[in-house]
Amino acid sequence: MITTTSIAPDRASVRASQADDLGYDLALLQHDSVHADSADIWTLGSWIAGQTDQLQLAVTVADIPRRLPSVLARSVISLDLLSGGRMNLILGENNLSVDAVGSVIEIVRGMMDLSERKALSTGGYFPLRGVKRGPIPAHDVPIWINGAGPEILQLAGQKADSWLAPYQNMRLEDLRIANQFIDQAATDAGRDPREIRRSIVVSGMISDASDTFLQGTTRQWVDDLLPFVLQGGVGTVLLDTSDVDTIDAFAREVVPALQEAIERERPVDSSATRIRRADVRAKRYAGIEYDAVPASLRDSATEPGDVTYPAVRSTYIRAGSPGIVLQARTTAEVVDALAFARRHPDLPLSVRSAGHGISGRSTNQGGIVIDLSQMNEIQVIDEASRVVRLGPGARWMDVAAALQPYGWGLSSGDYGGVGVGGLATAGGIGWLSRKHGLTIDHLKAVDMVLADGSTVRASAEENQDLFWAVRGAGANFGIVVSFEFEAYEVGNIGFGQFVIDAGDTAGFLEKWGATIEASPRDLTSFLIMGPPRRNQPMAAQVLTVVASDDPDTIVDRLQPVANVGPLYNQQVMIMPYAALMANTQGSYHDPGGEPAARSGLIEYITPEFARAAEHLIKSGTVYFFQIRSVGGAVSDVPPDATAYANRSANFSVTAFGPDPERVNQAWDELAVHFNGLYLSFETDQRPERLEDAFPGETLHRLQELKAKWDPENVFRDNFNLTPNVTSG
């Protein structure tokens, strides 16, 4: 791979935009000491990041220690985040000793390293004490070393991601000598010399005349440069010129011709892949063939040693430590990722859309995660019939926002950060469920990748049995890469937030339940309670949506809910459904541990259940207790119409607690009241949970279909339907 650039001190921003348009890979920014007008390079680089889309930026920082290395490190991370991972940092000996440059590298890498929980402290040239690390950059920002002395070359070999030749048109002979120093130092440090990309700066003229080095035709440029690539190990060629025609001709003619020549001359197996640093590779897990990651996924794969690993390892409430996270952007990449996973039949395999899954199945310990978050398409297919296509990685808040201009909506859950894929293959108990049913009740078709890598479509017309299974037990059958829904009209809604006294917890729960059941279907209500707090009365947060924008209707519907008990606080708003769902910003997940979540579906809040629930809440075993109303339109669908079969329930009950054993024990005591469960809120892996989720004939039918569609039981880590196998 060849990367190139041009930069002049003035009009640098315009030049960078041109380079971006011409398809240059990278622009190098460095101070031109000839010009008195000493623009700040960092500021210029940040500005250029805002003017360009694809172009990588390599910024030379020459004013250390005036610029504190600690602040520089945060700046590097910021610019990498803002530019979407296009940042490179170049350091050299400007006023600094080689050791001091080494200290700067240590600080920049240390600041990016969130896998280390301890604060950053360093000694040496730039002592830091107790500095909080972060933020996590968009990618492992490559650090380049610029210089030619033996010591700086040695440092490059020991620590750098790239080495930059310090002057233009270096002779191949000199390059080879520099390479020897770098290679030797790398080898001595336990690194692979290929980890360090070699970059040279060239200048010349493209013209018809052909005599000296880089003064001639395209053909001559290729002949001149090819040995640097093939024998000098050069991976990056930087063009230094202010001549616009040369910049243009280099991009249009020299680069393609050089690429072609390289492909022709190079041995076939030496495909230029990114080689991770030895310290990153050292954190790899045994049993994963990291070097066999398919080419399509190599750049986006995340390993335990990568700086971005802390941002992808865990899900909403479950701390995970997978061995590799593969980010698939297309169906073909899902197929590739699955093939890679199948080379590791003994490792856990998780599929993740947005990573909210309360059941925790979208991360694992030591296994493989296929991340679909980039497959986040939201597209209206047919406006007349309101058919929309959603990618599994789209988040429901974004879906709601995209459908709002059409006056449409799709009920999902209660949180906007949830991804489409997990929810739409399990159920979807959301803010409009009594009026509109479950999310899956509006699913018209799916495209999915099966265990064998083939792609099928399932709908009411084709592969009906698979379509039935996907609506409730989808995770067992494959990876859905596209969903087609029929949206419905959703205008503004009324949203009531009440804090209601629940000192008599059982009495409150019973009364709330009866009120909701008696309410028309345009009302859906969720309640949340936590354990008692010292000096505070027991209260419940009751959140209620009325699917109407008529104030009288809203008040009429909410009044009975407000009357359930003494109100501590109340707020009623009329808002777009999309605004209700826009309740998160979307950061990465960094939970503390692995709490237990349990689920139960119930027809009525009976006095017996209410008393048992009060006991549970007051015991302190759970820190979060929620009941969502279901019923209504959900119950209109016959139980055998979808794999989600617990259609008679009017309520879905959920609780979280820190200690799985205690939570399970408490929940098992409640089991007598329940009539099934909802898998998305369940962490218990005991096989009986399958019978709760899929009552009677449903489980039997699912197991038959599992044998048909996933005979080798590849999709087994999300409540495995295959009998006599416990999931990992």
């Binding site: 700040d40 940040s46 805002g50 602040v71 530019s83 107790g130 909080k132």
Partner: protein
């Protein structure tokens, strides 16, 4: 009645959160679209969940066209004044003169020292700020062609290369509270940028603080009106009044116009990370305050 006669400026104080990375950028763009005059960002480089403020500011300047930008306020102990001067001038040129320098003496000395910054006493930090302002203006002062040495007690540069010159006369806005800092603001500042939540006695503290600034200005042979008085404000829109800047838009208009009439505040910078609130502030509150102030000034200054 205290009014220094400046035109009114309405801005937003946006938290520079790094996750989600583009959130402050989107909020700044929303502020520009809503019609605000200024977006500004706090600067605490030891805060690991924030963007680097200068990098963020430079990037946002690149992504906007009209709105002015400033640190609110930049952290001098962790930012070298010579680097700052060049950075500001560079960005001012790139952005067509939209950059102002909000700066403060620093305060969280343990955190500053942890980051490798120099630990100073409160008094020293005031002296350092005074030197830094002089140095920054020296670097900007390209009308003089010879390179200038600068030998202060806190900052020392051999042969400062002057330039680049900023595209416009960059305002130096100082975040100050104590008498020494306020007098310094009067001597050297183009603007004053305190935060209302830090005033223990609420807005009425402004009277005495203004007096220190006026005093500092006069002693340096300047006019008190040379220093624009701005204020970072927080508040809540609510249907019923619940205190200062907590109530319906009409109350906000009264409260802000009052800040101008009673304390001479002419810059109102709203601490808001809510595009809805920014829109309401820019679209409804700001124009009404301008109108009200214009009317009151018309009456009182014949």
């Amino acid at each position: 009645m205290t009014d220094y006669g400046h035109d009114l400026l309405f801005g937003a104080f946006i938290t520079p959160v790094a996750q989600p990375a583009m959130q402050p950028v989107e909020h700044a763009i929303a502020a520009e679209e809503a019609g605000l005059d200024l977006v500004s960002f706090q600067d605490h480089p030891y805060q690991a969940t924030y963007h680097d403020t200068w990098t963020l500011l430079s990037y946002i300047a690149s992504r906007t066209e009209r709105i002015r930008l400033s640190g609110n306020v930049l952290n001098l102990p962790l930012r070298d004044p010579a680097v700052l001067a060049r950075s500001l001038a560079t960005l001012d040129n790139l952005s067509g003169g939209r950059i102002e320098l909000g700066i403060g003496a620093g305060g969280f000395w343990d955190a500053i020292a942890g980051m490798g910054g120099r630990r100073l006493s409160a008094g020293q930090s005031v002296e350092a700020l005074e030197e830094a302002i002089e140095l920054i203006r020296t670097v900007w002062g390209t009308q003089s062609r010879n390179s200038a040495g600068f030998a202060g007690n806190y900052y020392r540069v051999d042969g400062v290369r002057r330039g680049p010159a900023p595209a416009h006369d960059i305002g130096i806005w100082i975040g100050s509270y104590g008498p020494r800092m306020l007098r310094l603001t009067g001597r050297h500042g183009d603007g004053w940028l305190p935060s209302l939540p830090y005033l223990k006695g609420g807005p009425s503290d402004l009277t005495e603080m203004n007096r220190y600034i006026d005093d500092g200005a006069r002693k340096a042979g300047r006019e008190p009106s040379d220093i624009r008085r701005m204020l970072n404000i927080g508040g809540q829109i609510a249907s019923n009044s619940g205190g200062f800047l907590n109530g319906p838009p009409e109350q906000w208009i009264d409260d802000l116009a009052g800040l101008n009439r009673d304390y001479g505040i002419s810059g109102f910078i709203l601490m808001a990370d809510d595009p809805g609130l920014i829109e309401l502030y820019a679209g409804e509150i700001a124009p009404a305050v301008r109108e009200r102030v214009a009317a009151e000034r018309g009456v009182s200054s014949p």
